[in-house]
């Protein structure tokens, strides 16, 4: 994986934003796999499905916001480049460590992973001898960690010669925001936000749920777009809400409700929800027993399954092509992409209802091995 460069030019920011889109998308296959692993004919996980669906939709909103920022600074979003969809399991940064993100069925472990993805990570001030280093007058924290294969966020070559990891996803977005600020100040807003306004996805084209798409035309709106992504994900890090004035609960605490079996409501404190009870059922009646990180090779022994798995991957690739068109000046393509999302659900359902011939007790699942599919 190519290293990123510490932001110094508009081109560096575009590369960061391409990674940001990849990152926002990278949460979608795991959330989607877990969501659709819950048998829709069983009502026990009705609440759980609702909670995960909201978050899934908000990730799509974040992806669209990232595309709008990239378009605003003259970039061209491309969801079809090699490696856009990682091979799972992949690794995401979590402060001191990277952690593993798998495609897996609804389970205790899935919720734990989701909490890891969304957990607010605030680096403390870097103590002497720590692997953490501050950059940009202390505004961004980077860290050096052991290198891992399938690590999702690329390394960053800092101007001082260090090669560092982002401490967290939050720090990654902070670096983008700071880069935009510095460049705008240096070159003027108008010379940074040079994109054609007609390429912005308008809110009317987004299907709804979980907030509005931010139209990005200047630094102020770019910061608003980033704020929405950070607020909905990590929240402010101290309360269960996205920000102190919001009624919306951040992703971390939304997932935590599944772990604690109860909804949060207004005025609750973190860790102690007092809302209505929420049922969570991991039993085989409620969840298809899918194989974690299922691969095409796991479908050997059943031509029909293999064909369905391949068909899904190709369909998903075509879907990413359609999104790329939508994000490149044709937002009207989102309408039919939404229809495709229902087909994606149905195709996943077909895979998950069928047992793998060579893996006793396990059902198939979408493999998301997209890179070999043709565009």
């Amino acid at each position: 994986m190519k290293n990123l460069k510490e932001i110094d030019s508009i081109e560096d920011i575009r590369e960061h934003l391409m990674i940001a889109m990849q990152l926002e998308h990278a949460t979608i296959p795991p959330y989607m796999t877990t969501l659709y692993s819950m048998n829709p004919e069983n009502d026990k996980n009705l609440d759980t499905r609702g909670v995960i669906r909201v978050i899934l939709r908000e990730e799509m909103l974040h992806l669209t916001n990232a595309a709008n920022i990239l378009n605003a600074i003259g970039g061209s979003p491309n969801l079809t480049v090699d490696g856009f969809v990682p091979l799972y399991p992949t690794y995401l940064p979590d402060g001191e460590e990277d952690f593993k993100v798998s495609l897996q069925g609804f389970s205790d472990d899935a919720i734990k992973t989701f909490l890891d993805i969304e957990r607010p990570k605030k680096p403390s001030e870097a103590p002497q001898g720590s692997r953490i280093k501050s950059f940009a007058n202390g505004r961004i924290s980077m860290i050096s960690r052991p290198n891992i294969e399938n690590r999702f966020l690329p390394l960053v070559e800092m101007k001082n010669g260090d090669v560092m990891h982002f401490y967290s996803i939050g720090e990654f977005y902070k670096a983008i925001e700071l880069g935009l600020e510095i460049l705008s100040e240096k070159n003027g807003d108008k010379n940074v936000f040079i994109g054609d306004e007609s390429r912005q996805v308008p809110d009317e084209s987004f299907w709804g749920g979980g907030g509005k798409v931010t139209k990005v035309i200047n630094l102020e709106s770019a910061k608003k777009a980033i704020k929405l992504i950070i607020d909905q994900g990590e929240g402010d890090g101290y309360t269960i809400y996205e920000d102190p004035n919001s009624e919306e609960i951040s992703h971390y605490y939304r997932f935590q409700q599944l772990k604690l079996g109860r909804y949060y409501q207004k005025n609750d404190v973190p860790g102690r929800p007092t809302g209505p009870e929420l049922t969570v059922d991991y039993s085989p009646e409620a969840v298809f027993p899918i194989k974690a990180n299922c691969r095409l090779a796991d479908c050997e022994g059943s031509e029909e399954l293999k064909e369905a798995a391949l068909d899904f991957n190709q369909f998903y690739k075509d879907f990413l092509v359609k999104l790329t068109t939508a994000y490149n000046g044709h937002p009207e393509f989102l309408e039919s992409a939404i229809g495709d999302m229902f087909k994606i659900r149905d195709k996943i359902g077909f895979l998950m209802r069928n047992p793998l011939p060579n893996h006793r007790g396990f059902n198939a699942a979408p493999t998301f091995e997209i890179n070999n599919c043709h565009t």
């Binding site: 909201v54 009317e204 709804g208 749920g209 909804y263």
Partner: protein
């Protein structure tokens, strides 16, 4: 739309009291309603066409029915308010083409729900087809219906999604589940809870649950309402109940046309002209179903996206009822119980299984065309809701008794609609499968032909509004002539219903009423 499962064929003089709604005949309807928070809007189909300007002056224009105490232009701005409150997706131009009038530059909150593939097939073959009623010529045209269902918002409008405690912010767009009735799985369809939540959040509203209003009490001298008594219950199955009363400055009854009238009659307040509960209306529906020659993708989209509204207006209304035709996206479901009935037929009678069963079902269902003719009904003095001590519910409250028949004016329209459906099927090359069962509860004979008439759940007319105390129950602001601190709100106030589903007009009138109530308090 939701149907009562208790309706059955009545013999001469028979009464059906099997369910809460007592049916005294001679016409028995499967019309029904839900006594829950949000009422029947939880289960409605959510079509929201406006009434036509001429519908408000039926007596003046056609010498039939009763005029409203105001004109279309007076309600015009309130229609807009109602459409924004309910969240209507629609197209102004196609409504204007059928005679609806809008304020200048008006746009609906959301773009029209796109016509289904089925609509396009039917429209493609039918648009421009000539027909005539009593010598008056028309050209049929398929167009979309405005609906209170979230679609692509027009600039600045934010669709209102689901009401729940589950943080599942779905419902901001319709998903085309074809499951609008009995319930929209994502709440993209408006229901009154969306408005109630706003009211509750003001902190000025108290909700009394598990309580049924049982009596409106009045001062014998002034006739003003002093309090409303209610009965409470512990559980639906239990028999224990208590009672209480609420008092206030202004009282508003906003149940439906049957329940408003029932409560007033149960309180022995029939109005000094004995109009309370009379003039009961509902849209009679006549279904016609046929099989198209090609796969039309039936079972996609909302229950209904388009229809033929050409015959909602015309001079013929001097003699016979106007009607609107719905093209149903859910196949023959309403008429025959499809697709379940098709499945049973293929398995039990045709011995199909596996791939043959699957393709057989698709082949059958995807070609089904159901035309639902919604026919105008006029207010008749004798069509009414009454109460009788012989019929009480388990709380000891009077139950509503319906006594009505379908007026000849509507039957003329129904007979014409059946003829037209045959012409339409012929033009489409569709095979007509329509049959009407003489043992069906709604079977009605007219001029030697029989028709199965179904209810529309558009109950209305029972506390007419009018210009004069002698010939109406409430004034143009839905305020009772007799009891001047009482408002009877809802479609019971409507003197005519034209060929529009009643909810939108009721909501618009209610906005007018709300302004009046604010002036009073």
């Amino acid at each position: 739309m939701p149907r009562s499962s208790d309706a059955r064929r009545l013999g001469l003089g028979q009464v059906n009291s099997d369910s809460y709604l007592v049916q005294n005949g001679p016409f028995e309807s499967d019309t029904t309603y839900a006594r829950v928070i949000g009422g029947t809007t939880n289960h409605w189909e959510a079509k929201t066409p406006r009434m036509l300007p001429e519908d408000f002056k039926m007596k003046t224009n056609f010498g039939k029915g009763i005029d409203w105490p105001f004109e279309y232009k007076d309600i015009l701005p309130y229609y807009g308010k109602a459409e924004y409150e309910l969240g209507v997706s629609g197209d102004v131009a196609s409504q204007e083409a059928i005679g609806v009038v809008f304020e200048e530059n008006y746009i609906y909150p959301m773009q029209e729900i796109p016509p289904s593939y089925l609509d396009k097939i039917v429209g493609g073959k039918l648009n421009g087809a000539p027909t005539a009623i009593r010598g008056e010529k028309f050209k049929l045209n398929v167009s979309t219906f405005p609906q209170a269902r979230n679609g692509v918002p027009n600039k600045g409008y934010k669709p209102i999604g689901a009401v729940n405690t589950h943080q599942d912010n779905s419902g901001e767009r319709c998903q085309g589940n074809t499951n609008c009735v009995p319930i929209c799985p994502v709440q993209a369809k408006y229901d009154a809870r969306k408005t109630l939540v706003k009211a509750l959040l003001t902190g000025h509203v108290d909700l009394l649950t598990q309580a049924v209003a049982s009596k409106v009490c009045t001062d014998p001298l002034t006739q003003r309402v002093t309090k409303i008594e209610y009965k409470t219950y512990d559980s639906i199955q239990g028999s224990a109940f208590g009672s209480g009363s609420v008092s206030g400055k202004v009282f508003i009854l906003a149940a439906n046309a049957i329940e408003n009238a029932r409560l007033m009659l149960a309180s022995n307040l029939p109005a000094d002209n004995d109009y309370m509960g009379r003039h009961l209306m509902d849209h009679p529906y006549l279904l016609a179903w046929g099989l198209l020659t090609e796969n039309a993708g039936v079972m996609r989209g909302t229950s209904c996206t388009s229809g033929i509204s050409t015959l909602r207006r015309g001079k013929f209304r001097n003699n016979q009822a106007a009607f609107a035709i719905d093209i149903h996206n859910d196949g023959w479901g309403w008429a025959t119980g499809s697709p379940y009935s098709d499945l049973l037929d293929l398995v039990n009678n045709k011995n199909k299984f596996g791939t043959a069963l699957k393709s057989g079902l698709i082949n059958q269902v995807s070609r089904q065309l159901l035309l639902a003719n919604m026919v105008e009904m006029l207010p008749e003095f004798g069509n009414r809701v009454t109460v009788n001590p012989n019929y009480k519910d388990r709380l000891g409250n009077f139950r509503p008794i319906l006594s009505w028949s379908i007026p000849e004016y509507s039957l003329e329209g129904i007979a014409y609609a059946r003829q037209l459906s045959k012409q339409i099927f012929q033009r489409l090359g569709a095979e007509d499968f329509t049959t009407y069962d003489p043992l069906n509860y709604g079977y009605t004979s007219f001029n030697g032909n029989g028709y199965e008439i179904r209810g529309g759940n558009h109950l209305s007319g029972t506390h007419l509004m009018g210009e004069c105390r002698l010939t109406s129950v409430v004034n143009s602001k839905q305020r009772s002539w007799m009891h001047d601190n009482l408002y009877l709100v809802g479609p019971g106030s409507m003197p005519s219903i034209g060929t529009s589903n009643t909810t939108l007009t009721m909501a618009a009138v209610t906005f007018m009423t709300a302004e009046d109530i604010l002036k009073v308090i």
